[in-house]
Amino acid sequence: MLKTSGIPTAEDLAVRIPPEERRKKGPVVMIECFQKIPCNPCFTACKHGAIQKFEDINDLPEVNFDNCNGCGLCISKCPGLAIFVIDETYSENEAAVSLPFEFLPLPREGEEVDLLDRSGKIVGRGKVLKVRNGKYEDRTPVITVAVPRELSMVVRNIKLGGDVR
């Protein structure tokens, strides 16, 4: 339960998951924002008209998934670190998940890391594909990691180290 543990339920998530049709076409944003708080920088960050203008700054973000190209420029601008980009077309058996990661040391590209779910539980191992840590990210680096396809909606954090296979 979000309001007692901070972990969203399947029901909470259902309304935020991009439609399957869209997921088949390539990388797409998933905004895990469930509470009406006064905040709109995701709209300001989106250059593709995918994140809709807020009528009321307390509204939850609305996404037009067809306009989203999965660029991920919104990830590091979300003060709640609640935005992820999911690419279920990455390879035959893997999806690529892009997530905000504000911990040192940063992983290296190609490094194998533990994959964590929304409760911090280790659910597998995956390879880091990309580390974006430029001026734009401004100390909220964005990590893209390959995960088993069936975990595309499960993996939301990584942990360095762990057992090297």
């Binding site: 309001k3 509470q35 006064p38 905040c39 307390n58 911990f103």
Partner: protein, 363 residues
């Protein structure tokens, strides 16, 4: 005696914005802070702020503090007094007593006063709550984020409001293990996104739990164990639900209380408003209290977010300057804009408590 047009007491987000807004209108301002730098608690806020672009959304508190402090320091209409603690306000002649660098006593006579003193942390009564290793969340942030010192290895965080959640995240970033975040309330008080951030690091959040007691290491005398227990829906502890956590730090983050001493001294009409953290001054929509010429802004006016503190500061600064006859032609527009911003920030469901509190204060 030193004279100034507008004295701003406190150089945090509200005070900085108040000084800038008043100076922008044309007034001469003296801003005083007891610390040796401006910025107040912003210097500890490593997270990005919420709100919209106008309220510096997506910018980290530390960076907002730097930008605003730099603007204040270079503004020719603003004089900055650091290491300066305002220790008294004498309402009969409107004089502030200021202790400067712990050695000089300076008297200042301002025409208007903006009180932006912020808030202090509440504490929690439990057995042995004075052991070494038991900190307020502000102290932990000061140690870590200002001085680069970690408070310990294993932490029990008490309080799942925004500060408790944010400091837990910062502790984890610093490599300190947060064993659990507990809160006596039945649900998380902070923003859920902050809760989700710590949850996916594997930190358990336990609602309806409080601290029963803390126990020291027999050799060192420092904290070694915490005992927590569950509370029922009437906040009464339930015997038999005790859990022992091996921690060397308990971090207390159970809310803030307005630092209102100067307002009491000034004779402002005060009211106890639990939704706003304690005793706050009645004021009108221009942030002026029942004592003419004394304004409030920020947490001292009611504990809220830094974003709204900044806008309240702006509003108080604009109005204090206007009351002295200063207006650069943009007063009406700026005032309206600030009031709209406050309205927007407070209009959602998370602003309900604040709205209830403020409704009791209007003059």
């Amino acid at each position: 005696m030193k004279k100034t047009e507008i004295a701003v007491i406190g150089g945090g987000p509200a005070g900085l914005m108040a000084a800038l807004a008043a100076a922008e209108m044309g007034a001469r301002v003296t801003i005083m802070d007891r610390n040796s730098r401006l910025g107040g608690q912003l210097v500890k806020q490593t997270h990005m702020f919420f709100g919209s672009e106008k309220e510096y959304a997506s910018v980290r508190g530390i960076d907002i503090g730097k930008v605003l402090s730099a603007e204040v320091l270079k503004n020719p209409r603003i004089e900055t007094m650091l290491d300066s603690t305002v220790i008294g306000y004498y309402p009969d002649d409107g004089v502030l007593g200021v202790e400067v660098e712990e050695k000089t006593f300076v008297k200042i006579k301002p025409e208007k006063v903006i009180v932006a003193t912020g808030a202090s942390e509440k504490f929690l009564p439990f057995e042995n709550n004075d052991l070494p290793g038991i900190y307020g969340a502000g102290a932990v942030q000061t140690l870590m984020n200002e001085h680069g010192v970690v408070p310990g290895e294993n932490v029990l965080m008490v309080g799942a409001g925004n500060i408790g959640l944010i400091v837990s995240y910062q502790l984890m970033q610093a490599g300190v293990n947060v064993k659990a975040i507990i809160d006596a309330a039945p649900s998380i008080g902070g923003y859920w996104v902050h809760a989700s951030k710590v949850a996916r690091l594997g930190v358990p959040i336990m609602t309806s739990y409080t601290v029963k007691a803390a126990y020291p290491n027999e050799l060192t005398g420092a904290l070694e164990r915490a005992v927590i227990w569950q509370v029922d829906d009437k906040w009464q502890p339930i015997p038999g639900t005790e859990k022992v956590l091996k921690v060397d730090v308990i971090c207390i983050s159970v809310g803030l209380s307005p630092l209102a001493e100067i307002l009491w001294q000034a004779g402002c009409r005060m009211k106890y408003v639990p939704q706003l953290g304690g005793h706050v001054a009645l004021r009108d929509e221009n942030m002026e209290t029942t004592v003419p010429g004394v304004y409030v802004a920020g947490d001292v006016a009611g504990v809220e977010e830094a974003s709204s503190a900044m806008i309240e500061g702006r509003l108080a600064g604009l109005n204090a300057a206007k009351s002295l006859g200063y207006d650069n032609g943009k007063y009406d527009e700026k005032r309206r804009e600030a009031m709209e911003q406050l309205q927007n920030l407070r209009s959602g469901p998370v602003g309900e408590k604040i709205r209830q509190g403020l409704a009791q204060l209007a003059l």
